[in-house]
């Protein structure tokens, strides 16, 4: 079960981090590094800004370990934190001194921050969904995990190359994909992903 193997494990990891276990912290950083970094990169922010947002997110997490309610809320907490920081940086980078002087932006700062908060939630949900799906994929049978990874998580490969690499006839890729996606869908449905 996704929850038992993955999130139960995350709960123990969080408990160890709270005790100051540096090895557990390293493991946590390894688990979430791509998750955190992908949020600002997907927004098109410059690499330097993405690196700053990455550090700011883990600094905030390090400071807040005791305040996070449960391991189940950890991915969303991290996602919202990274998204907030990314939206803040994007707002600062997009600031146009000319427009500010002329006062043509009608929104007050409160409204801008409220909109950013909604966007941060939405971005975090998107990131969480993708993470949950990747975790569920890793627990499919070998054949399905390899096919879906080749089709969607790797740089684009021609279907002949996928066919040769995985030993699946080209004509069978479509039906196999459908069966694998249905298997994945059922696993996600059991976990409450679609609720």
């Amino acid at each position: 079960m996704l929850r038992e193997t993955s999130e139960g494990d995350l709960s123990r990891l969080l408990a160890r981090c709270r005790k100051g276990d540096g090895r557990a912290w390293s493991e946590l950083v390894d688990r979430f590094q791509g998750y955190v970094y992908s949020i600002p990169r997907r927004m098109g922010l410059a690499e330097d800004d993405c690196a700053d947002i990455f550090q700011a997110t883990f600094i905030a997490l390090h400071r807040s370990l005791d305040k996070i309610g449960s391991a189940a809320s950890l991915p969303k907490w991290i996602g919202v934190t990274a998204s907030r920081e990314a939206l803040r940086i994007r707002r600062l980078r997009n600031r146009d001194p000319q427009r500010e002087t002329e006062g043509s932006d009608d929104r007050g700062l409160d409204e801008i921050l409220a909109d950013e908060e909604k966007s941060a939630e939405a971005l975090a949900i998107e990131a969480c969904d993708a993470r949950t799906l990747r975790l569920a994929m890793s627990q499919l049978g070998d054949r399905c995990a390899k096919l879906l990874t080749a089709l969607y998580l790797e740089d684009e490969s021609a279907y002949q190359e996928i066919s040769l690499r995985l030993g699946i006839p080209v004509g069978a890729i479509g039906p196999t994909r459908a069966r694998c996606l249905e298997k994945l869908r059922r696993s996600l449905e059991e976990e409450g992903f679609f609720v």
Binding site: R23, Y37, R41, E126, A130, L133, L188
Partner: protein, 176 residues
């Protein structure tokens, strides 16, 4: 999984890619699974980026690893006393190790491609095999494959200790 003739067309309607062309016109748009597949399609297409090694190292340095007290665990009980006999004759056996007052029992089962090792981590401990973490279930039980008994050594860590459990082909009995 039973054959579902509509499945491929529902997936095609959700994924809308080069594998879908032939099935798009047949898609049953009222099937409840379509919304699920569309949500999965968005997540599958979520492009993932890895942070640089420098960024990761810098984040990890926020909580440096502690110097742990390393203790070799002693073999204090089990169903097969002679180390040499374990790989030669047994199909399964169990060994009990003790370190710093903490006991751990491991079960070893021979299979077609090597051995399966099963155990339960003591409360508060993580399990590592060749430096990599071994996943625990909700009861702290773990299992891992070992090609030979020589590959079965593990370590158990909490924040202050590292108990080194020798491989089953090396462990010799100590009186507790």
């Amino acid at each position: 999984m039973r054959q579902d003739p509509k499945l491929e067309s529902i997936v095609a309607a959700a994924m809308q890619d080069w594998l879908s062309e032939e099935h798009l016109s047949e898609a049953p748009l009222d099937d409840p699974r379509l919304a699920h597949f569309r949500r999965m399609a968005a997540s599958l297409r979520y492009r993932h980026f890895d942070a640089s090694a420098e960024s990761v190292t810098s984040a990890k340095s926020l909580m440096p690893e502690l110097e742990r007290r390393q203790i070799w665990a002693k073999l204090v009980g089990g169903s097969m006393a002679m180390a040499g006999a374990r790989s030669a004759t047994a199909d399964s056996f169990q060994l009990t190790f003790e370190a710093n007052g903490t006991q751990t029992r491991l079960m070893y089962e021979r299979g077609p491609s090597g051995w399966k090792v099963v155990g339960q981590a003591p409360e508060g401990f993580a399990v590592f095999l060749k430096g990599k973490p071994v996943r625990l279930d909700s009861n702290r039980r773990f299992t891992f494959p070992a090609k030979t008994l020589g590959d079965s050594g593990i370590s158990l860590m909490d924040e202050a200790h590292e108990f080194l459990i020798p491989s089953a082909d090396q462990a010799e009995f100590h009186e507790p």
